[in-house]
Amino acid sequence: MLFDKFQTMADFQAELAEQHVKPFGAVTEKILSATEGVVEGRNVILAGTNNYLGLSFDPRCIEASREAASRWGTGTTGSRLANGSFTEHQALEKEIAEFYGVDHAIVFSTGYAATMGMCSTLAGPGDTILLDADSHASIYAGVKLSGADIIRFKHNNPEDLAKRLRRLGDRAGQALIIAEGIYSMLGDVAPLQEIAAVKREYGGYLFLDEAHSMGALGETGRGAAQAAGVEADVDFFAGTFSKSLGAIGGFCVSQHAELEAIRFCINAYIFTASSAPSIIASTRAALRIIQEEPQLRQQLWDNAHRLYDGLKALDLPVGPTASPVVAVEMEDRKATIECWKALMAAGVYVNLVIPPASPSTNFLLRNSISAAHTSEQIDTIIAAYSDLIATGLITPTSKAT
C-alpha cells in the first residue's frame, strides 16, 4: 500500500501526542529576542536555533529588510533566470565572493538548495563522489540525484578518504570530495588540514559545506577552512544565510570560472523563485556586521565554552571539544523525550534529534549556542540539565552501565 511506509512515523507521532509533547514542529508563538521566545505556551530560553551570532534581531538587519521590502516589494515572484535577479541579489553575490576572496558566487533561495543543487550538478554519470558518512541530508539528496558513483568515507577520517582515493586509481584526480566544516548534529569540526593533504596527494576537487562554521570559525569568519589555513585547497565553498547571518538562503563560491556556466545547469537554482529582496538586504547587512564586529565570534566561543564546560562538569555525554553545537547523546528514545519535556518545563528549548537525523543509533538533546546568550541564560540551561540528573531522567557518563 502507498501509505504503509508512513505507519511507523504515524505511530511515533501518536505516541508523542499521548505524552502531550511536541518536539518536532513545536510552535513558537512569540519571539522576544534572539535568545528568548514563547514556544508551545512556555517562556523559554532558545538554545536550539542555530542563531550563532544572534543577528536575527539586529536593528541594522531589520531596518535593511524593511527598507528593501518598501522599495522592491515582498517577493520577486520568479526564478533568477527569469525575472527574479534584482540588483540586491547581484550585489550579495559580489559581496559574498569578496568576503571569501574569490571571483564567483551563486546565491540560492535556501541552504538546502545550495548544497543539494551543487552536489547534484557538479558530478554526473561516470563521475565519482566521495562524501563524509555524516554529511547533511541535503548533500545525500544531491549526490543521489547526480547519477555519479557515490562512495562514503568514514566520518572525519582522512585515512579512510585516502584509502578510497587510492582505490580509484586514475579516476581519483577527477573525483569530487565532500566534507563539512562543523557537523550540524554533534558540532565536531572536520580535520581539514589532513583532508587537504590527502587531496593534494591524490587529486580531486574539494567541496566544503561551511553552513555551521561560517561566522563561527576563522580569522574573519569564513569558516573551518580559514581556521585550518587550507582555503586554497577548497574548490567550492557552500554555506547558508540562515544561521550566523540570521535570515534564509544559501550560497556557493569558487575561484573556478566554470561556476558561471554551472549556474545555468542547477535545477534547484533555475526552477525556484529567488529570495525576497528583504531577505537579501538583511543578509547583506549581517555579512557586513560579521566583518566589522569580530567580537561577536569571540562572544560565541566564550558562550560555547561556558555551556560545554558546564555540561562536561556534570559528566554528561557531550562531544570531545567545545563547539557552538553541544549535543548530549542518549541511547533510549523514551528517556530522551522525557528529558526534552523536562527541559521545556524548566524553560529551555533545545532540539530533540532522532535517527536517522542523528549520525548513529543514538538520540540527541542538541543545544546550539549564540553570541547573544547571557551568562545567566547559559547557567540556567546548565542548571536545567543538572535537574535532569537530580530527578534521575539522565545518567552521568561515569555512572552509565
Binding site: 543521489k144 558513483d149 562512495i151 562514503r152 580509484l168
Partner: protein, 80 residues
C-alpha cells in the same frame, strides 16, 4: 581472476558472525528480508568486503542488491 563461486564463498564466510538466525546461506538468501541485517550491519558487512578485495562499493548500486548472489555479482564486476 576469481570466479563467481569464490566470491560467494567469501561472502558466506564473511557473514558467519552476522548469521544470527543460523540460516543455511545460499545465493538466494536475502540480506535484509531473510537474515534481518540492519542498515548498520549491512554497512559493516560491505566494509569487510571492501577491505578484503581492496575496492569501494558505491552506495548507488546497493538498491539493486537483495540477495547474497546479487552482491557476489556486483563485487565481481567491481573487482574485474
Amino acid at each position: 581472476m576469481t570466479d563467481y563461486q569464490e566470491y560467494l564463498d567469501f561472502l558466506y564466510s564473511a557473514l558467519e558472525f552476522q548469521n544470527k538466525k543460523q540460516l543455511a546461506l545460499s545465493e538466494d538468501t536475502e540480506l535484509v528480508a531473510d537474515m534481518g541485517l540492519s542498515s548498520l550491519e549491512v554497512m559493516e558487512f560491505i566494509e569487510k568486503i571492501e577491505d578484503h578485495f581492496d575496492i569501494s562499493i558505491p552506495l548507488n548500486i546497493l538498491p539493486d542488491v537483495n540477495t547474497i548472489g546479487d552482491l557476489a555479482r556486483k563485487v565481481r564486476e567491481l573487482n574485474l
